[in-house]
Amino acid sequence: MGFLKVSSPHAHGPMSTARVMRLVLLATIPGLFSLTWFFGFGTLVNVLWASITALAFEALALKLRKRPIAFYLNDYSALVTAFLLGIALPPGSPFWLIMIGTGFAILICKQLYGGMGYNPFNPAMAAYVMLLISFPVQMTTWFAPQGSFAGDLLGPIDALRYCFGFGRDTVDAITMATPLDVLKQNNSLLIEDMWQESAQFGQFSGIGWEWANIGFLLGGIYLLYRRVFTWHAPLSMLASLTLLSALFYDGGSSASGGSPLFHLLSGGTMLGAFFIVTDPVTSAVSNRGRLIYGALIGVLIYIIRVWGNYPDAVAFSVLLMNFAAPFIDHYTQPRTYGHKLKDQQGGKS
C-alpha cells in the first residue's frame, strides 16, 4: 500500500535545535548593544571575525569527518560559540588571538569530542581560559569605557584596523583596568573612597559593565520566557554569588570583597549566568542537579574573584563545574512516578 512505517509519536512540536540557537543569538543583542555603546565597535568586530573563523573551522572539521556540512552548519551551534567567545574577549582583540580562540573551541573542544552534544566542556569558555593563560597581556587589556575619559571611542573602521593590526599604532586607544581589577588591587581604601578615586566606576559597578550585564540579564529573561532553558541553574548561581558577597561585604571596608550588586553587575556575571551556565550540553541534566551546579559556580566565581589570582572567574568556575556535572547527575536523578527516592538511589550502580 505504500504507507509510511514509523514509530509513534507521529506529531512533533514546533521547537528545533536551530531555533533554540537562533533564540540564543537573538538574546545577546541587548548585551552586545551595551558593550558597543560603552566600549566602541571592538566587540562587534570580535564577534564578526569569530563567527567567520568559527564557521570556517566547523566546515573544515565536518569535511574532515565526512559529515554533511550544510546540515550541521545550519544548527547555528558554531555561531553561538563564536558570539560568546567574541563577547568575552576584550574589545578590539587582535585577529590571531580570536582565530586561535575559535580554532581551539571548534576543533579541539567540540569536534574532536564528536561535535555538537558530545563536548564535556563549554567550548567558548575553554577557549577563553586557554587564551587567558597563554596570552595574559592581550587578554587583560580593556578599553576605557565612554564617560571615563575625554575622547572618542573606537569607530567601526578603527576597530577593524585595530583588530587586524594594520595601522594599529595610529589608532588612539585608551586602556584602563577593569573595576574588578581595581577592587582586587585595592587594599587600603574604603570601597566608597575607591569609587571616588577611580574614573571607571559608575552607578553600581564599572561604567559600561553595569549596562552590559543588564543587557545580558534582559536577554536571559527573554530566553527564560521562551522556555529555552529553565530558571534553576542561572538563578541558583546568582543567588549563591549574592549570598557570598553579602556575607563578605564587610560594610565596605578596605578588606571588603565588594557589594552584592557590584558582583552581580561586574565582569561576566550575567553573560555567564544566562548564556554559559545554561549551556545544556555541559551542565547537569536534572532540575535538582542544575540547582547544585549553578550554586557551586556562583560560589567558585566569588572565591576566585576575591581570593584567587584572577580578577574574573566565570570561565574557570564553569569549566570546573563542567567536570563535576556527570557526578552531580549521578546523585540527582529525579524521583520517577511510583518509586520512592530512596529505593531509586539505592538501586544505582
Binding site: 507521529h10 561535535g115 555538537m116 520517577t336
Partner: protein, 788 residues
C-alpha cells in the same frame, strides 16, 4: 470544588478534535466480511469453538476464553464461518495472527439473549462472570480483560472507582461523542461497576476540560447518583491510567504494582457502556465506537462499528483520499501505530483510524545531535531523564537504563514531541526494552544450558572416576598378586625380608609420582619375572646376596664384639642380629648350592658323553629339561610338559627294562645298576603321573586361570600367582569336598532311613524320597570324583 493534582511534565499538542465531532455517531453497517482476531485483548488468545461452514448468529460465542486473563469472541452479526486462518491484524509490526472470518448474510439475526432484570440481586461473582462471558476488554486502548480488573480481592479494599473519560490523545473523539450521546448508558454502567466493586469512598468520572458538551451531558445523567464528574485542565497524557489516578487522587500507583494496590479500580467509559449492555440486555461486546479522521478523509466521523470490520470499509465510507496520505495510523498521533494494510479489522481496542495528509503530519525530519537541553525531561509525565536514557540506549548500557527506570516509561511520546533535535526517543526506548527483555530471556536460557552442561560434565567425570577407581583397584590387586607370585616362585623362602622391602617400595611408588610408579612397575616386573632371569643372572644375584650377607655378618660380629667389650646393654640384641645374619647367610648359601646343582647338568646339554650310563643321562636330561622349563609356564604348557614327561619316562622305563633283561640274559656286571635305573625310572614315572593328576585337579577347580594369557610379563606373573594361589586354594577345596562328602554321606544315610520307613509305612512320599536320595548319591559320586 475538589482538589485536582498535577502530573509532572505533559505537553499540549494541537487537539484536532472538532473535525470528527461535526456529526453524530453513525452506524457503519454490515460489511460483506468480518475478520475477528482471536487475540483482541491482553492475555491468552481465545480458542475457536466453531468450524468453517457453520452458520453463526449475532452475539453467538465463536471463540472461548483460554485461561483467566483472556476474553471470548462473539459473532458481530449473523453469517457463515468462511475461514479460520492467519490474517493481518492491527499490530505495529503488521504481523498476521489467527482470525475467524465470517461471511455476513445481512440478516443480522440475533441469538437468543437475555439481560438481568435487577443486577443488584446478583452476586459479584455472577456479574463478573457475565462480563467475562460477554468478552469485554478495556476499550481505551490496552484491552485488558474487564472481568480480570473487576475480580478484586477482599483483602484489598477499594476506595475509589474511577471511570476514564479523559481521552487526551489528539484527534480521537470516540469517548467524547459517547458522553454527548450516551451519557445515561455510561452512568448506568458506572452504577453496575460501583455495585460490583463497592468502593468505600467515591466513584469518579475524570474528563478533560476540552469536552464541555460531554461534561454537561454526563453531569445531567449523573444527577442524584452520587457519581462525581471531575473536570481538570487538558494536558497530554492525562488519560494514562496512572496519570489520571494521580490527577484525581494524588496517589501514585507503585512501580510494578496495580491501581488496586492503592485502593483504586479504573475503567474506560466505553468499557462501562459495554458492561451496561452486557448486564442489562445480555449483549456481548460485538461493536464499538471508532473515530475515522484526518484531513485525508473528506468526512471525518464517529462510527458505531461491528468488530471485525475492515479499515478499508470505513475509509471508503469517510471519503478517504489516498493521494494525500502517506501514513495511516491506528490510534492517535501520539501513541498510535502505522498500518501497512487497510484490510486489517477494527478490534475491541480500536478507538481511532487517523488518515492525515502529508502537510498535517509531515514525515519526520532527520534527527540532529542531542544537546541535552532537557526539554524531554521537562515533558516526561513520569519524571524520567529521557536525554540520559537516550545516551545509554545508544551505548546499549542496559544496566544504566534500568537504573534510570526505563521500564517505567509509558511510551506516551511527549519527549519525542518536544525534542528540538527530532530524535525519535520513544523508538530508542522501545528498542532498548526489547533488547533488555531479549537479553534476560537469553540469560535464563544460557543459565539453563549451563546447568545442563555442568550436570553432564559432573556425571561424566563421576563415571570416569568410578572407572578409574576400578582400574586402580584391579592394578593394585594385580601388583599384590605379582608380588605374592614372586615370593612363592622364589625357590628359597629366605628372601622374605627382601620381598617385603620390594613390596613396600612398590606400595610407596604407587602413592608417589609417575616416575616412581614406573620404577615400581619395573620392580614388580622384575619380581614377577624373577623366574625368568637366566640361571647365570640368578647365580650372580645369589652370590651378591651372599657377599652382602657375609659382610653384614662380619660387621654384626664386630659390633657384637665391641658391645661385649663395653658390656653394653645392646650386646644381646647384637648377638641375636649376628645369629640371624648367620641363619640368613646359611640359607643363601644353601640356595646358591641348590641353584648351582640344578645349573650344572643344564650347562652340559645332551649327556651324549655319558653314554655309559643311559639311565643317569635320562635322569639328567629330565632334570635339565625341568630346570630349563622352570616354573615359568602356563597351565597348558605344564600339562603338556607333564604328559610329555610321562610319555618319555614310560619309553625310558621300557628301554631300561629291555636293557635290564638284556643285561640279565648276558649276565652283565651292570645288571644291578640297570635294575636300580628301572626302579628309579618307575618311581619317576609314578611321580610324574601324580604331578599330572594334581595339575589336572587344579585345572578342574579353576578354569579361569587358564583362560587368561598375556604377552605382558607382569600379566604373566599375575597369572602364575593366580595359578599358585588356586593350587593352594585347591588344597583347602579338597578339605571342603571331603567335608561335603561326609555331610552327603550322612544325609544319604538319613535319607535311606527315611525312605525305608516311608516304604514300610507305604507312604506316597517314598518316590520323592527315592528321587532325592538318588540325587544325593549323584552329588556324592561327583564330589568323590572331584576329590580323586
Amino acid at each position: 470544588m475538589r482538589k485536582i493534582w498535577d502530573i509532572h511534565g505533559g505537553i499540549h499538542p494541537a487537539e484536532n478534535k472538532h473535525q470528527s465531532l461535526l456529526n453524530p455517531i453513525e452506524n457503519a453497517g454490515i460489511p460483506a466480511q468480518l475478520i475477528l482476531p482471536l487475540a483482541q485483548h491482553i492475555g491468552a488468545p481465545a480458542s475457536p469453538i466453531v468450524n468453517v461452514g457453520d452458520r453463526v448468529l449475532k452475539g453467538q460465542m465463536i471463540a472461548e476464553a483460554k485461561g483467566f486473563v483472556s476474553a471470548p469472541v462473539h459473532a458481530p452479526t449473523s453469517g457463515t464461518i468462511a475461514a479460520i486462518e492467519s490474517r493481518v491484524i492491527p499490530h505495529p509490526s503488521g504481523m498476521t495472527a489467527s482470525c475467524i472470518v465470517i461471511d455476513t448474510d445481512g440478516k443480522d439475526e440475533w441469538i437468543t439473549h437475555q439481560g438481568v432484570k435487577d443486577y443488584t440481586q446478583l452476586s459479584k461473582l455472577e456479574l463478573v462472570d457475565r462480563i467475562r462471558q460477554a468478552g469485554i476488554a478495556g476499550m481505551g486502548g490496552a484491552g485488558f480483560p474487564a472481568a480480570v480488573k473487576l475480580s478484586t480481592r477482599d483483602d484489598k479494599p477499594i476506595e475509589t472507582l474511577i471511570l476514564n473519560g479523559t481521552e487526551c490523545e489528539p484527534y480521537i473523539t470516540a469517548d467524547d461523542i459517547l458522553m454527548r450521546e450516551r451519557a445515561a448508558e455510561i452512568i448506568a454502567g458506572a452504577e453496575i461497576l460501583r455495585h460490583i466493586i463497592k468502593p468505600n469512598k467515591e466513584t469518579l468520572i475524570g474528563v478533560e476540560d476540552n469536552k464541555p458538551e460531554g461534561i454537561a451531558a454526563l453531569k445531567k445523567a449523573a444527577e442524584g447518583t452520587g457519581i462525581e464528574i471531575v473536570v481538570f485542565p487538558t494536558k497530554y497524557p492525562s488519560g494514562g491510567e496512572k496519570q489520571l489516578i494521580q490527577i484525581l487522587t494524588g496517589k501514585e500507583v507503585p512501580a510494578g504494582g496495580l491501581p488496586s494496590d492503592v485502593g483504586i479500580v479504573c475503567q474506560n467509559i466505553g468499557t462501562a457502556t459495554a458492561i451496561y449492555r452486557a448486564i442489562q440486555f445480555g449483549e456481548p461486546l460485538i461493536s464499538r465506537i471508532t473515530t475515522i479522521t484526518g484531513e485525508a478523509c473528506e468526512r471525518p466521523q464517529n462510527y458505531e462499528v461491528l468488530l471485525g470490520t475492515p479499515v478499508q470499509y470505513l475509509l471508503n465510507k469517510s471519503g478517504f483520499n489516498k493521494e494525500n496520505c502517506i501514513r495511516l495510523i491506528m490510534g492517535g498521533p501520539m501513541m498510535g501505530y502505522t498500518l501497512q494494510d487497510t484490510a486489517v479489522p477494527i478490534v475491541k481496542t480500536s478507538n481511532c483510524v487517523l488518515a492525515p495528509t502529508v502537510a498535517e503530519l509531515p514525515p519526520p525530519p532527520p534527527a540532529q545531535a542531542c544537546i541535552r537541553c532537557g526539554m524531554c525531561a521537562e515533558a516526561c509525565p513520569v519524571s524520567l531523564l529521557p536525554q540520559q536514557m537516550y545516551w545509554f540506549a545508544r551505548a546499549q548500557e542496559h544496566e544504566k537504563l534500568e537504573n534510570h527506570q526505563l521500564f517505567d516509561c509509558i511510551e506516551c511520546g511527549a519527549c519525542s514531541f518536544v525534542c528540538p533535535s527530532n530524535i525519535p526517543l520513544v523508538q530508542y526506548y522501545r528498542a532498548s526494552k526489547a533488547e533488555i527483555r531479549q537479553a534476560q530471556q537469553d540469560k535464563i536460557k544460557s543459565e539453563r544450558s549451563k546447568e545442563r552442561f555442568e550436570a553432564r560434565t559432573a556425571r561424566l567425570e563421576q563415571e570416569e572416576a568410578e572407572k578409574e577407581a576400578k582400574r586402580a583397584a584391579r592394578m593394585e590387586a594385580a601388583k599384590a598378586k605379582a608380588a605374592a607370585a614372586a615370593n612363592a616362585a622364589e625357590t628359597s623362602k629366605t628372601d622374605i625380608i627382601q620381598a617385603a622391602i620390594e613390596r613396600s617400595k612398590a606400595k610407596q611408588a604407587e602413592s608417589a609420582d609417575p616416575a616412581q610408579a614406573a620404577i615400581a612397575r619395573a620392580q614388580a616386573k622384575r619380581d614377577g619375572g624373577a623366574e625368568e632371569e637366566s640361571p647365570q643372572e640368578k647365580t650372580e644375584r645369589l652370590q651378591k646376596l651372599l657377599a652382602g650377607a657375609e659382610k653384614r655378618l662380619v660387621a654384626a660380629k664386630e659390633k657384637l664384639a665391641l658391645a661385649q667389650e663395653q658390656q653394653s646393654d645392646n650386646a644381646d640384641a647384637f648377638a641375636t642380629a649376628v645369629s640371624k645374619t648367620e641363619e640368613k647367610l646359611a640359607s643363601i648359601k644353601q640356595e646358591l648350592a641348590a641353584h648351582e646343582a640344578t645349573l650344572a647338568p643344564a650347562k652340559t646339554p645332551a649327556p651324549s658323553t655319558d653314554s655309559t650310563d643311559p639311565a643317569q643321562a635320562a635322569i639328567a636330561r629330565a632334570l635339565a629339561k625341568r630346570a630349563g622349563a622352570g616354573a615359568d609356564e602356563s597351565t597348558e604348557d605344564k600339562t603338556t610338559r607333564l604328559q610329555n614327561a610321562i610319555a618319555t619316562t614310560e619309553k625310558r622305563l621300557v628301554a631300561a627294562q629291555q636293557k635290564l633283561t638284556l643285561a640279565q640274559e648276558q649276565n652283565d656286571a651292570n645288571v644291578g645298576a640297570f635294575a636300580t635305573g628301572v626302579e628309579k625310572t618307575q618311581a619317576k614315572l609314578d611321580a610324574a603321573k601324580k604331578e599330572l593328576a594334581d595339575h589336572q585337579a587344579t585345572l578342574g577347580a579353576n578354569d579361569t586361570a587358564e583362560q587368561v594369557a598375556s604377552d605382558d610379563p607382569v600379566q604373566a606373573a599375575i597369572e602364575r600367582a593366580k595359578a599358585a594361589r588356586e593350587a593352594q586354594a585347591n588344597m583347602s577345596e579338597a578339605d571342603k569336598i571331603k567335608q561335603n562328602i561326609e555331610s552327603l554321606e550322612n544325609r544319604i544315610a538319613k535319607s535311606k532311613e527315611k525312605l525305608e520307613a516311608a516304604r514300610a509305612a507305604g507312604d506316597d512320599k517314598a518316590d520323592i524320597l527315592a528321587d532325592s536320595l538318588a540325587k544325593l548319591e549323584e552329588k556324592l559320586a561327583a564330589a568323590q570324583q572331584q576329590l580323586s
